[in-house]
């Protein structure tokens, strides 16, 4: 049965990836679109035709098997063995297929990318990848197949519409082929990027799908599984293996000529590894203005020597152009990604706290910048010149100190504010609201106790968890207990407040039914010190799940009541942006941050709801179709992490710059009531604000560009403080300097945030075009002004932007920028919101997931295995891969995964025995298991969101979801492959240069 599901799915016939696919069907699993790339070759005639039935249930009996062999019509070279398995002819009922093996198999069409890659290979091979170390490095881990890009053709382009492709003329498959017999009637969508589907090199090996029932694991007879590989291969393998590991059975001779070796195009993995190799594990001292820090993926120890650690601030470029003309010419965004509360590893020194007592921080009289290493002391130390506005200020008497022979204060190294990039000041009353010291902060837990949450056990889970979690609410290190007060509210169609005052014998519940005009019904006993009220709180938490349990018993009787409850909730949370907007503003004005945990089983309008957490510096967590046994741990981890993380309240951030440029735009979980003050009801260690700068005037190479970010906030104990981060950048009038100093990860962070911000007011298509154009423009400018002359057909990338195209392509493919009916609006809104507050490391992982070959694990080493590129061609059916993007984690199991690994990890005898219905790996006392779990732990560490683990077996339904994250391949829901995009950008560049 297993297969049938897929088989039946409609989309087979579609040429277009993603078109009409509805994810739940997993129909596209075998989506021919990939295989059948537009080159036309793919559309195998007959068989495909059959598939063209598009599925939706053509009633007919399954067509006969033959179709499985797709033809590579287009390719003259004809890769013999390729079969594009056509979509299984039949889309019908599973039962019919059951017996029908071949058809079943066909459902796994070849991996998309492979085919296209090969072709591109041919196109791109000509390109020069600037400074890419190994250039066309031999495929170390790449697919065996495609060796060389022998034939460099100009880019073979299928008739490609909107996207630019160089040399479309050349290649392929006449469109006609597309319409070949049986070709799907579907029109090609315009945006379909390339039509390249070269004969896949060793392609994916999708083996015939095993037997029916396989998906179900249980029913699958083990022996069959074992054999299936080989058998299939023989029987029907349609895809010549493309996987590094598994080409064995693939007879396919390496695909010859015309392909661009995927290994020849810049590899993010290579870039990361190179940086790690050269800078990892070292000490990075921030003593030099404009020096480029190691990549976010590189571990090193950072020593603050006058500039803020890159953990706090990362810039898109560490060298600003001197003039705005130059900036316009390069079109490189000038931005900083600031994560003011970033976690500092224990081996680096924490921020110093400066306390000037009642006089407060020393500030420039004119621009109000805080004392920092950029202030120049003159006149024997009596005055100082502000590095930001050049104003000369008197040194306050209490702060006077003599200067040494090089004009430095004698106490330079004693005062953090003179020698460090980051430090904190104790704020005086002037910095408090209404000049009154702030109250200690409070956490209010609001729990939805409506029917479904009670029924699925969520409420009980939360209440149980809170009991232990409340012990861990953040406190100052020197304090015995936390100053944070806690309060509890539950709600369904009405609100319930709880009085948990310590002297009560039992908690008191106060119901507020007037949801139209909510008020707080009690004063005393709502917010309490947890330690003092512990017994009452525990009493309450014990009772809450039972208190609302009644509804369970009367499911039918109370169904209407629940309905009414939901209605009421809708009224309460009416999806009107204005309501949330003003609510959020009120929250910020009162220093109230809202974090939302959503457990939607249907549309809840995340876009509107999410506004509140976003504008108030809170966090949005979403667990679709929450199932206790699967999602419990993820939720609990998030909840714990959220409560325990370092956080500052009621914050205002101000970014000051030296003359000549200024901060013009801000992106993040923030609220701005004017153009300079960034207000955040709370800011935690994971939230970053991206700031864009523009020129006001000319910058001088001598003085550089200085940035000071000051965050005024309230600590968890209720102390008002200022956190200052200073960073000095270089300036240059040479474009080459600018390009040399760029950091792609930060660029992508900026592009993502600005694009995601724009989705609210601009059409997606426009946004995508702008991104592509700007990418091309940046690269073209480099080519024109910085690179040595070369053939026009060459693609030349600056070293610092080598991986910009692949990352940019990942961004373009993100569901936020691709509106597809398959992706819920809620999901898009959710991801959009997450990205808006991400720091550089998180956005890097989010857009380019980490893919680790677990089968290569060296159980004796504590090193992580080297990551591989996110492409299907890197998978092998003998392999086990772990993929993580910061939100999701997948463990992908090839059908021929080594049994000892399976035994080691899952403690079951064979592939078929693995139950994929788990989100935690079993704890097996085995080095494989231990090592893998440790790796997962390392990956999860420091990530703001707990990643839910999904076990994916090759060729089973969930693989579809997994494949979305193979970002170098053509997207399931649209979006081109890396190679295609590179071609596209290349073409754009060519046009710009002409």
């Amino acid at each position: 049965m297993s297969q049938q599901g897929y088989v039946a799915t409609p989309p087979y016939s579609q040429p277009q990836p993603g078109i009409g696919l509805s994810p739940p069907h997993y129909g596209h699993y075998g989506d021919p679109s990939h295989t059948a790339s537009p080159t036309g070759m793919m559309k195998p005639a007959g068989p495909l035709g059959a598939t063209a039935t598009r599925g939706m249930l053509p009633p007919g009996p399954p067509p006969p098997g033959p179709h499985q062999f797709g033809q590579n019509g287009a390719h003259a070279t004809g890769h013999p063995p390729q079969r594009f398995p056509g979509p299984p002819p039949v889309n019908n009922v599973a039962s019919s297929h059951a017996p029908y093996q071949p058809s079943a198999q066909s459902s796994y069409p070849g991996p998309i990318s492979t085919s296209s890659v090969t072709q591109l290979g041919s196109q791109l091979s000509a390109m020069q990848i600037n400074s890419y170390g190994s250039g066309m490095a031999p495929p170390s881990q790449g697919p065996p197949g495609p060796l060389s890009a022998t034939s460099l053709q100009t880019p073979p382009r299928p008739p490609q519409p909107s996207i630019l492709q160089p040399g479309s003329q050349v290649l392929p498959p006449p469109p006609t082929t597309l319409n070949g017999p049986g070709a799907s009637p579907l029109p090609l969508p315009m945006y379909r990027p390339d039509g390249l589907s070269g004969p896949p090199p060793p392609n994916a090996q999708y083996q015939p799908p095993p037997l029916p029932g396989q998906t179900l694991g249980a029913g699958y007879p083990p022996q069959q599984a074992a054999n299936s590989g080989p058998q299939m291969a023989g029987a029907q393998l349609s895809y010549p293996g493309g996987f590094p590991g598994g080409p064995a059975q693939m007879a396919g001779p390496p695909q010859p000529q015309k392909k661009l070796d995927p290994d020849s195009i810049p590899s993010p993995i290579q870039v990361i590894e190179n940086d790690r190799a050269s800078r990892g594990g070292q000490v990075y001292a921030t003593n030099t203005r404009g020096q480029i820090p190691p990549l976010v993926t590189t571990d090193c120890m950072i020593q603050d020597q006058g500039n803020a650690s890159p953990r706090f601030i990362r810039c898109t470029t560490y060298c600003f152009p001197c003039t705005s003309d130059m900036a316009k010419q390069a079109q490189i965004p000038l931005a900083a990604v600031i994560k003011p509360f970033a976690t500092i590893p224990s081996n680096e020194s924490p921020l110093y706290l400066v306390n000037h007592g009642e006089s407060g921080p020393v500030r420039c009289n004119r621009c109000k910048a805080y004392m920092c290493p950029f202030m120049q002391f003159i006149e024997g130390g009596r005055r100082y010149q502000c590095g930001f506005c050049n104003c000369v200020n008197d040194v306050p008497p209490f702060y006077f100190q003599h200067l040494d022979h090089i004009g430095r204060r004698l106490d330079h190294y004693e005062k953090p504010e003179l020698s460090l990039g980051s430090y904190e000041y104790v704020a005086t009353l002037d910095y408090c609201r209404k000049s009154k010291p702030p109250n200690p902060p409070a956490f209010i837990f609001m729990i939805d106790v409506s029917y479904s949450n009670i029924k699925n056990g969520l409420v009980k889970l939360i209440c149980e968890e809170l009991k232990t979690m409340l012990e861990k609410i953040p406190k100052e290190e020197q304090e015995e207990t936390s100053a944070i007060r806690v309060g509890f509210i539950t709600y369904n169609k009405v609100l319930h407040f709880f009085n948990v005052k310590s002297n009560l014998a039992q908690p008191q519940m106060m119901v507020v039914t007037d949801v139209g005009e909510v008020f707080v019904p009690l004063l005393d006993g709502f917010l309490v010190n947890y330690q003092e009220s512990q017994s009452v709180i525990h009493n309450l938490l014990d009772q809450i799940p039972d208190m609302f349990a009644d509804s369970n018993e009367n499911e039918t009787v109370f169904a209407p009541v629940i309905q009414a409850g939901m209605e009421a909730l809708k009224i309460l949370f009416q999806p009107q942006t204005n309501v949330y907007d003003s609510l959020a503003k009120d929250c910020v004005a009162h220093g109230c941050s809202v974090t939302l945990f959503l457990f939607p089983s249907q549309y809840v309008d995340v876009a509107s709801l999410g506004l509140v957490p976003q504008l108030t510096g809170g966090t949005l967590y979403k667990y679709n179709n929450f199932q206790m046994h699967l999602d419990r741990q993820q939720f609990l981890n998030d909840l714990r992490n959220d409560i325990e993380k370092k956080i500052g309240f009621d914050a205002i951030m101000r970014v000051r710059t030296s003359t000549g440029f200024r901060a013009t735009d801000f992106f993040g979980g923030i609220l701005m009531n004017n153009t300079t003050d960034v207000e955040m009801a709370a800011i935690d260690c994971d939230k970053a604000v991206t700031v864009e700068f523009k020129h006001d005037d000319k910058l001088s190479e001598d003085s550089g560009a200085l940035i000071q970010c000051a965050v005024l906030y309230t600590t968890i104990s209720g102390q008002r403080r200022l956190r200052i981060h200073n960073l000095g950048l270089n300036c240059s009038s040479q474009l080459a300097d600018l390009y040399k100093s760029c950091e792609t990860d930060a660029l992508i962070n900026f592009f993502a945030k600005s694009a995601f911000k724009a989705v609210l007011h601009q059409p997606l298509k426009v946004i995508r075009e702008i991104l592509v154009n700007q990418t091309a423009h940046m690269l073209a400018c480099y080519r024109k002004n910085c690179a040595s002359p070369s053939a026009a057909s060459q693609l030349i990338l600056p070293d610092s932007m080598k991986v910009l195209p692949v990352y940019m392509n990942c961004l373009l493919k993100n569901c936020v920028l691709l509106s597809r009916p398959e992706i819920s609006t809620d999901e898009r809104a959710y991801q959009r919101q997450l990205v808006m507050t991400m720091g550089v490391a998180d956005s890097q992982l989010f857009f380019y997931p980490q893919l680790l070959p677990i089968h290569t694990l060296d159980v004796k080493s504590t090193m992580l295995p080297a990551a591989v590129r996110c492409s299907e061609s890197r998978l092998s059916e003998e392999g086990i891969f772990l993929l993580a993007n910061g939100l999701h984690m997948f463990l992908w199991l090839g059908v021929s995964s080594p049994p000892e690994l399976i035994q080691g990890i899952f403690n079951v005898p064979s592939f078929a025995h693995i139950n994929t219905d788990m989100t935690l790996l079993p704890e097996v006392g085995n080095p494989y298991s231990q090592q893998l779990r440790m790796i997962m732990g390392i990956i999860q560490q420091k990530r703001p969101y707990s990643m839910k683990l999904t076990i994916v077996k090759q060729r089973e339904q969930p693989e579809m979801v997994f494949r979305q994250f193979l970002v170098e391949d053509k997207g399931l829901y649209g979006g081109s492959s890396y190679v295609d995009f590179l071609c596209c950008v290349h073409k754009e560049i060519c046009q710009l240069l002409n």
């Binding site: 039992q506 008191q508 106060m510 119901v511 507020v512 039914t513 008020f519 209407p560």
Partner: protein, 654 residues
């Protein structure tokens, strides 16, 4: 005369009826000359321990417009088994059950001694009584504590199956759910927002969910009580819970800044109480018992703002039309009172505070529904504690001395018409031939609804007056507002309107007894001349019991003569008025203020303000004589009043 007086007293004793005239005027002309209208005071539930229980239903006249009850005055034809209605003259057949009727075998209702009879009607399910406590938490700690104790104590006095509920209010209003274990749960309402009955019921979850009819569920009759029982629970089930709940009641926690009154949402609290009962138990016996320690200061029904510098309205303000909130508040409470009366529930008001609490505005709540109104200085006084306790006293049968949901139906023969009733009732708007065009009191109907009544509740029309009496009536707080707050006036009038003749007479003209060595205690003139040094006076004004020791007596007592064995008679003399006062205190509802004072004591003012000022500082001729005590007042004395009256009578005769 003596026989006549006896006759009248006997009638009153037996039927609870007392007429202003005991002889009908023979003609209309005569009737118009009577000046004092023909009226009676009726005490419907006058206690009659001697009445046998009659366990069947009354026989009614078969004429649909009449339906008079078979009574001893009806003509009966025993042979034909017929009776003639003495109101409409309809001839009625006796029901089959009366088959054995004869001159010697008469049902009770035909016997002359049963001119008053009580039928025990067996129809219908007995529904439990409901007591809904509405408690102000803006009280001083002592007061709240005392009130909590009284309330806790009261639980033991309720019948075990009675339903109780609790609403507390201050700045907000909390409706407490009583059925929950382990957590005390309450529904909270803003004190400033007026809610309709529907909204209240929705918010309390009392409305049955509109069932989409997809599943025709079997009707669940018990569902209704279930829903309402969250707030109203049988005492026997939750008395422990409720005792604890009351014990944990805290003063309203919202801060009251200097110069402000606490925010007290009496209007909303009462509105919610009314709405709660309206939705769950319409037309059953229910008491809403409002305990308040101050004026409503916010929301609908507010009587005064929270600024302490602006005092609560006085008669002076009202005359000057300067009572900002009075009209609106009165309207609010009238609306509530009318709704409550329509539901057959009653509202008691227990207002204990030194300042006014807004009884003037709230009075209709008690007046229209037959509820009690009790005013005191503090909940921590025996006046309140004992009065409250007295509400739950039982009669000789062990039944509560309270009744609910009465309909008073007055029928007259053709020669008489009904002009109206005055008392704790509302009109049922039943017009008939016997209803007069002229209205007096609540008129235009022959039926009234009395939501709550007790054995002393008396309705009446007019009262008999004599000259001396009129003098005191003019001085009484019923007509005279001087020196009384609007609240006090409302309070006195409330009680005046529902007491029987004797009690209301006491209210108008207090009784004064004198105790001395000269003989047994004797009633003396309510005159300043009665205040003598060697007397002990006992004054009963209904609302106050004052014991006053004359100057000499007071000196003796100070000297401790009462403790000397040889002066035991003095001790007895001192004790006698105390015992008598105690007797009055035991029976009276509400419990009177008990004042024990002496010559020159500050509390003596209670006595001095009541007596006829025959001697004042203006007619000093009596100074120095043993003829009583002069009263420092400008009020006219009875003598002056009588002289004036005589002059008027003579001149008007001309």
């Amino acid at each position: 005369m003596a026989t006549y007086l006896e006759f009248i007293q006997q009638n009153e004793e037996r039927d609870g009826v007392r007429f202003s005239w005991n002889v009908w005027p023979s003609s209309r002309l005569e009737a118009t000359r009577m000046v004092v209208p023909l009226a009676c005071l009726l005490t419907p539930l006058k206690e009659r321990p001697d009445l046998p229980p009659v366990q069947y239903e009354p026989v009614l006249c078969s004429r649909p417009t009449c339906k008079a009850v078979l009574n001893p005055l009806c003509q009966v034809d025993y042979r034909a088994k017929l009776w003639a209605c003495n109101f409409c003259f309809q001839r009625n057949q006796f029901p089959p059950a009366y088959g054995g009727i004869s001159e010697v075998n008469q049902p009770a209702e035909l016997m002359p001694q049963f001119s008053t009879i009580e039928y025990v009607i067996q129809r219908g399910a007995q529904s439990p009584l409901i007591f809904l406590y509405v408690v102000d938490t803006c009280l001083e700690e002592d007061d709240l504590q005392a009130l909590k104790e009284s309330l806790q104590m009261s639980l033991s006095l309720l019948p075990p199956d009675a339903l109780v509920g609790l609403i507390t209010f201050g700045r907000m209003v909390q409706v407490h759910e009583l059925s929950c274990e382990g957590i005390s749960k309450s529904y909270v309402f803003r004190g400033t927002k007026d809610l309709t009955a529907k909204q209240i019921q929705d918010m309390l979850g009392l409305t049955k969910p509109a069932m989409p009819m997809q599943q025709a569920r079997p009707a669940q009759p018990q569902e209704h009580p279930f829903a309402s029982s969250r707030f109203l629970q049988p005492v026997h089930k939750i008395d422990m819970n409720l005792t604890d709940l009351l014990g944990e009641l805290q003063r309203d926690p919202w801060p009251v800044t200097q110069g402000k009154r606490p925010l007290r949402s009496t209007g909303v609290a009462l509105s919610i109480a009314v709405g709660l009962l309206e939705g769950t138990f319409p037309n059953t016996g229910a008491r809403i018992m409002l305990f308040t320690g101050g004026p409503p200061t916010q929301g609908p029904g507010m009587v005064v703002g929270d600024e302490l510098k602006i005092p609560i309205r006085s008669w002076h303000d009202i005359e000057k039309d300067n009572a900002r909130f009075m009209k609106k508040a009165t309207k609010h409470y009238e609306m509530l009172a009318n709704r409550t009366a329509a539901n057959g529930h009653c509202i008691d008001i227990y207002a204990c505070a030194l300042d006014q609490t807004g009884l003037l505005e709230m009075k209709c709540c008690a007046n229209l529904t037959g509820g009690y109104m009790v005013m005191g200085d503090s909940f921590n006084t025996s006046l309140f504690k004992q009065t409250f306790q007295r509400i739950f006293t039982k009669d000789f049968n062990g039944d509560f001395r309270m009744a609910f949901g009465a309909t008073l139906d007055v029928k007259t023969s053709r020669e008489l018409k009904i002009a109206g009733a005055i008392g704790p009732c509302v009109s049922l708007n039943v017009k008939g031939p016997c209803v007069s065009e002229n209205e007096l009191g609540v008129g235009g109907t022959s039926q009234w609804k009395i939501c709550g009544l007790d054995p002393t509740s008396t309705l009446g029309i007019y009262f008999e007056v004599v000259n001396q009496f009129m003098f005191h009536l003019r001085r009484s707080p019923f007509l005279q507002v001087f020196n009384n707050s609007p609240d006090e006036s409302s309070y006195y009038r409330h009680h005046f309107a529902r007491q029987d003749l004797t009690q209301s007479l006491i209210m108008i003209q207090p009784i004064l007894y004198s105790y001395s060595f000269h003989g047994p205690p004797e009633p003396v003139l309510l005159d300043s001349s009665s205040i003598l040094a060697d007397r002990i006076l006992l004054m009963d004004t209904f609302f106050q019991i004052v014991i006053y020791l004359g100057e000499t007596i007071a000196q003796w007592r100070k000297a401790g003569y009462q403790d000397m064995p040889e002066y035991e008679n003095f001790k007895h003399l001192l004790q006698a008025p105390l015992d008598d006062a105690q007797e009055i205190l035991q029976a009276r509802f509400p419990m009177p203020r008990y004042i024990n004072t002496e010559h020159g004591g500050s509390q003596a003012r209670f006595l001095l303000s009541k007596v006829n000022p025959s001697q004042t500082h203006n007619n000093l001729y009596a100074w120095g004589q043993e003829t009583g005590a002069p009263i420092l007042t400008d009020d006219v004395s009875l003598q002056v009043f009588m002289d004036h009256l005589k002059k008027l009578a003579v001149s008007s005769a001309c």
